[in-house]
């Protein structure tokens, strides 16, 4: 098997222009379908939340617990390393200029405003978003979502709205927790790797008045949580084609969520400052 050589595929020269443009068109159409589908889903979530007897309280509490429990470990661990990484990255500048007081300010600003929310969001998407797509996808494939419809239960109100709320609440909380652990990681790295007294670092963090940056990070957590839940529910509910379909849906979900995180991050920062 490993030694076989396939003959070269014949190339159709007649439609060379069409063949080179077609993938671009297909990609644009696919992107439009994804964005459109997610917008519709967002609209249905809002409508479902506005209607009386909006959401399933028990399911929301279950989701809150599950989302938080799934991701708190990986978020805390990531945050510790990311904070350390930010301090070490500023190490060479500090060594060159001798300005040790800048470490706390640099690490604090970077963690609170950009690096913290984005990396926590990415890990959250990998852990909770992917898990959610896999779960909903399996439900679709085993006809459980159709069974809900037969029972007269709206899948949006019962499955999607609780996840939407749970992810928003939990990602804001996790951004809070993650920021704190990132600062702790930075403090440890400051003392252990850079050899600068931890007190100088904490002083720098506290003196820089980073409340504005911290608040912006939480706003980002809010939007990332909403975005990740919509993306992951969208892909999960559209699964088709067995085990392979679920794998592909999870893959698409994390990729779309990553793009959403970077794009939303940019716009929140620009609009905030």
């Amino acid at each position: 098997m490993s030694g076989t050589r396939m003959p070269e595929e014949p190339v159709d020269d007649g439609s060379a222009v069409g063949a080179s443009v077609a993938p671009v068109g297909r990609a644009i159409l696919a992107a439009c379908r994804v964005v459109g589908g997610m917008s519709v889903l967002q609209w249905r979530i809002v409508r479902s939340m506005l209607s009386p007897r909006a959401f399933d309280y028990d399911e929301t509490v279950r989701q809150l617990f599950k989302v938080g429990w799934l991701s708190v470990g990986v978020v805390v661990a990531t945050a510790l390393f990311v904070g350390a990484l930010m301090v070490i990255s500023s190490g060479n500048f500090v060594k060159a200029t001798g300005a040790t007081s800048i470490v706390g300010w640099a690490a604090g600003t970077a963690v609170f405003s950009e690096v913290g929310p984005v990396l926590i969001g990415l890990m959250f998407s990998g852990r909770v978003g992917a898990n959610n797509t896999a779960e909903l996808g399996t439900m679709v494939i085993t006809d459980q979502v159709d069974a809900l419809r037969v029972l007269g239960i709206d899948p949006i109100a019962y499955l999607v709205v609780p996840r939407f709320l749970a992810m928003i609440v939990m990602l804001v909380l996790l951004t809070c927790i993650g920021d704190i652990f990132a600062l702790i990681g930075g403090a440890i790295a400051c003392q252990a790797v850079l050899g600068i007294d931890m007190r100088i670092y904490w002083h720098g963090v506290l003196e820089s008045h980073l409340l504005d940056e911290f608040a912006m990070g939480l706003v980002k957590g809010f939007f990332f949580g909403g975005g990740i839940s919509i993306v992951s529910c969208h892909w999960g509910l559209r699964v088709s084609g067995g085990a392979q379909g679920v794998g592909r849906a999870v893959n698409n979900s994390v990729v779309t969520a990553a793009i959403a995180i970077f794009v939303v991050n940019f716009f929140v920062t620009v609009l905030w400052t």
Binding site: S2, L85, F93, R127, G242
Partner: protein, 248 residues
Amino acid sequence: MNARATQLRAPFVLLGATVRALPSVRRSYRRVVESMFVVGNQSVVFIAVTLAFLGLILVYQGAYQAQKVLPDLSQVGMIFIGTMVRTFGPTIVALMLATRVGAGIAAELGSMVVTDQVEAMKVTNTDPVEYLVVPRFVASLLMTVVLWVFGVLVAVFAGTLMGTMRFGIQLGTFLSLAGTQPADVGVGLLKCVAFGIAIPILSAESGFRASGGSEGVGWATTRAVVNSSFAVIVLDFLISTLAYVAGW
């Protein structure tokens, strides 16, 4: 506890098996090229979009923060390009590859496992590591480095647009390599190699551990993303610490 230890050891066992099977790559040259095409083709647009936004935001934040303390912004471009090459380029490209390529590998191998295709290979005396893992391993190792260069170029392009058009920095001043030492390129390259090894191994390992139908494939894919993303961050920390202590 014992199960935990086996779980932690499994990627290293697979890495060892992959390295031992590495000489077979000469025979499967074609599959490596196919794999490289898949890795590159899957992720080039994705990396272009995310790294462009990263470049925009880093320059925006850098210039915005610098404006508060310094009157001139002449250093922003220099520092931006240096940190892009050394820190943000490798890390973000690798995190994107972990979500795109890592999840892809786990989904593919996981569906092969649950449909017994891997068992069938063993029956026909084909080594799954040699046939499935080695080409993906070599391909993602090479493509991580290629996409790092590509990603840094895209980010610098986007960052230059932001720096010159929004903050009015001169193009010549902005595009300065004064902040990029050969050591920065070396550290970035070292990181890319480490990430390029970790991502396919961890993802293939979670793909092989998939069990139980479509649900199992979903979990395997999730696990691949989380494990390889986390490995990227830990390796990044270790290499950065090593580089700082060694004075690179």
